[in-house]
């Protein structure tokens, strides 16, 4: 009860501080002092404190199972383990928005602390733009989705959290992803501020690059966590389904990656200024669009918490205002500095980075069209369609071949004018890659030529970056390790898709099922009771072609609050392959429905994504090597 009120009033106080901050900073903007007014920093800090208090009080309501709070009632239950009580805080629409707000205020505070050597007016403008976003979110939370609504009479028991969300990976997935999403808001605000102050320069590039890196690292890891979760919890056995919800997180990632590359051009050569600003605006817009599409109920998925049209319309209007505002600012204030523009040759680092950007924009448009087209068609003709994975694969995979080749060559080029060095060693590396590929896959696939090209390109990148890592020791290790990770990612995805196999069948307890390469034996089932679910554990023995026996124990869980049945896959992971078994029971049948999958190199997909983010991390902690 008390926590509820504290939470609510701190939110309102936080909003008041926003308004106050706008006033104080506008006043300070006009004054001639060199340093920013100390009060601004304290006010920002106080605002952060209030949002933290509000968030903590919501967590406390969840921990105490205070069902007088509507969202606690809707999303929690007394028998739920403590960990999931806490993660339930952001496992719903209202709480997750509060988390957005928390990260927004946290980041602007960190920004102010970390930007002390930047010009005063630029800092104040960034703060102002950020406060506009913050006010928008405060209003959104307070008006359409308050996490502190009362319920009376107070129910004795809550409705429980959707069991598929009761999972460690998913407990940390939203906060991490939000850190990435919201990080782009700082990039957005500060790029607008920089445009207004005509400060899109080398210094600004160096300073904002850190924020780009931070958002990029969190976004990368956040997407990966979601993907890992989908892999083992949804039981489909894949890691990426081209589901609209996955796509909306991929889109800002693509523009952010593009931005990360051309910010390097900006910080060393002071070029591509307009492009950097456009990318910053686009990235944040896409993050907001993601929130809008996912939260408004337009896309149906596990992320859609409620279909309240008022919310959708609010975000849409807010988004519209932000886009118009940023475009107006861009067109009025932006001055391309003519001195140094277009001052580079075809074969140079600048060109190679532009090529990267073109590819990113192409991938972005494919994903965007595939995601938005069904919504668009539904609105204009009420025809229901969905765009399947083949669409994306067909349009993206072939373009990976030139992309990978450029990625191997690009980083070797120098600024302004360059030539390709060590041509012979590159040709040899490529020949080795091609021959290696040929011997590996000659018996594996029918579409030989295409795969040879694709996999050789990936191996080419793999070997060139590996050589770089080994020979040049720590020179530019961040870029090399990220690119190395990317080649590893593509290789593991390709081999995963070529080598993986799957068997689905219906089987009774005690039965054996023979397939081409082996045998599945369903030994027995066992029932077990946990605090918030009952489970049926199946004992399986799988004999594979080498006669090796693998034991797998998938589970069916019947959660009591709410009553939901989930399947927990059992996965045995090795460096070479994952053995994945999931079972399911259809009501009133003695047959269990099972799916056994051998997924090759699955763990390498996660490892390579970690390597990619590790590259970003190194660049963040040590910018010394970025020359």
């Amino acid at each position: 009860m008390l926590a509820n009120q504290i939470g609510y009033y701190s939110l309102i106080l936080g909003l008041l501080f926003s308004v106050l901050l706008c006033g104080v900073s506008i006043k300070d903007f006009g004054e001639s002092n060199k340093k920013i007014n100390q009060n601004i920093l304290s006010l920002t800090f106080l605002q952060l404190v209030f949002v933290i208090v509000s968030f903590l009080s919501l967590i406390i309501s969840f921990i105490n199972s205070d069902f007088s709070n509507e969202i606690v009632f809707n999303n929690s239950h007394t028998t739920k383990p403590l960990f999931y009580k806490i993660s339930g805080t952001w496992g719903n629409h209202e709480g997750s928005l509060l988390l957005w707000l928390l990260v927004l205020t946290l980041f602007i505070f960190l920004f102010l602390i970390k930007s002390k050597e930047q010009p005063k007016k630029y800092r104040i403008l960034t703060l102002l733009f950020q406060q506009i976003i913050i006010i928008g979110f405060f209003l959104f939370v307070l008006m359409t989705s308050s996490p502190f609504n009362y319920l009376f009479p107070i129910p004795n028991e809550g409705l429980g959290l959707n069991p598929v969300l009761q999972d460690p990976a998913l407990a940390i997935h939203p906060p991490i992803l939000y850190l990435g999403y919201v990080g782009t808001s700082i990039i957005f605000s500060s790029s607008l501020a920089a445009v207004m102050q005509n400060y899109v320069s080398k210094q600004w590039g160096q300073h904002i690059k850190k924020w780009v890196l931070v958002s990029w690292i969190f976004l990368t890891i956040g997407i990966m966590l979601g993907s890992i979760w989908a892999y083992y919890e949804l039981g489909w056995g894949g890691f990426w389904f081209w589901d609209p919800v996955e796509n909306v997180s991929l889109m800002p990632w693509l523009t952010l990656t593009a931005l990360l590359h051309c910010i390097v051009v900006l910080e060393s050569r002071a070029e591509l200024t307009s492009w950097v600003v456009i990318l910053s605006i686009t990235t944040f817009t896409l993050s907001m669009c993601g929130t809008f599409l996912v939260r408004s109920g337009i896309l149906n998925s596990v992320h859609t918490f409620a279909n309240d049209p008022a919310r959708g319309i609010f975000i849409l209007i807010f988004l519209f205002v932000l886009i118009v505002l940023s475009l107006v600012i861009f067109f009025i204030f932006h001055r391309e500095n003519n001195k140094s523009s277009n001052n580079f040759f075809w074969l140079s680092k600048e060109t190679s980075i532009l090529i990267n950007n073109w590819f990113m924009m192409y991938f972005l448009s494919v994903v965007l069209i595939g995601t938005v087209y069904p919504i668009f068609l539904d609105v204009i003709s009420s025809e229901k369609i969905s765009v399947g994975p083949p669409f994306y694969q067909k349009l993206i995979v072939p373009f990976l071949i030139p992309f990978l080749l450029f990625m191997s060559l690009g980083p070797r080029l120098k600024w302004i004018k360059s030539k390709i060095e060590n041509k012979s060693s590159l040709i040899i590396t490529f020949a080795i890659s091609a021959i290696l590929t040929f011997f590996i896959i000659k018996n594996l696939t029918t579409d030989l030529l295409f795969y040879i090209l694709l996999i050789s390109a990936a191996f080419f990148l793999f070997f060139t970056t590996l050589k770089e890592l080994l020979l040049k020791k720590f020179k530019n290790i961040s870029q090399t390790s990220a690119h190395f990770g990317f080649s590893l990612l593509i290789l593991s995805i390709l081999f995963n898709s070529i080598l993986s196999s799957e068997i689905t069948t219906n089987i009774k307890v005690g039965e054996k099922y023979n397939y081409k390469k082996g045998e599945i034996f369903f030994k027995k089932i066992e029932e077990k009771q946990e605090s918030n679910f009952n489970s049926i554990i199946g004992y399986f023995e799988i004999k594979n072609e080498n006669g090796k026996i693998i034991e797998l124990k998938p589970e069916i869980r019947v959660y009591n609050q709410p009553i939901v049945i989930t399947s927990e896959a059992d996965i045995k992971t090795t460096l070479i392959e994952d053995n994945f078994l999931v079972m399911n029971l259809v009501k009133g049948n003695e047959y269990f429905n099972i799916r056994y999958q051998v997924k090759s190199f699955m763990i390498w997909i996660w490892i390579s994504v970690l390597l990619i983010s590790f590259g970003g991390l190194i660049s963040l902690v040590n910018t010394k090597y970025e020359k």
């Binding site: 219906n506 939901v564 009501k587």
Partner: protein
């Protein structure tokens, strides 16, 4: 007439334009091939011509219609006006049950038989896909 730089720019612009047009065409073509339409059992009944393309069928799983053998799951999707028999070999999602909403993806054998290649998972048992809601009217 024009300087070298202007010509170069012109060529560059033409190249960019050409590649954009090409990309758009490619994307649209691919979109046309890979779009999966959603249909209700009633809509299938009123089809004049059977399409070989992959489609989605949605509705309710009819009570008492699920029948499982060692390699297949058979059931009937109904929109309370018309129904269609579905044959599926694979894993059904957790929330698949008689009397619940379902979306199946696959190919039509004829107007009464549908071979499903995928049964779509839904995560919330109270949640009904908007397509299904529309297909079965306001029931």
């Amino acid at each position: 007439m024009y300087g070298r730089k202007v010509k170069l720019r012109f060529v560059l612009l033409a190249l960019i334009l050409a590649s954009v047009v090409l990309t758009v065409l490619l994307v649209l073509q691919s979109l046309k091939e890979n779009v999966v339409y959603f249909q209700s059992p009633s809509a299938i009944k009123s089809l004049i011509e059977l399409n070989k393309k992959k489609i989605r069928v949605g509705g309710m799983v009819k009570e008492q219609s699920v029948f499982i053998t060692s390699d297949e799951v058979n059931f009937i999707i109904t929109d309370f006006k018309n129904e269609i028999n579905v044959v599926y070999s694979g894993v059904v999602p957790n929330l698949f049950a008689e009397g619940k909403g379902v979306v199946a993806e696959g190919f039509l054998k004829d107007k009464n038989y549908f071979t499903a290649t995928k049964i779509l998972a839904k995560h919330d048992e109270n949640y009904m896909p908007p397509e299904v809601k529309e297909a079965i009217g306001d029931k």
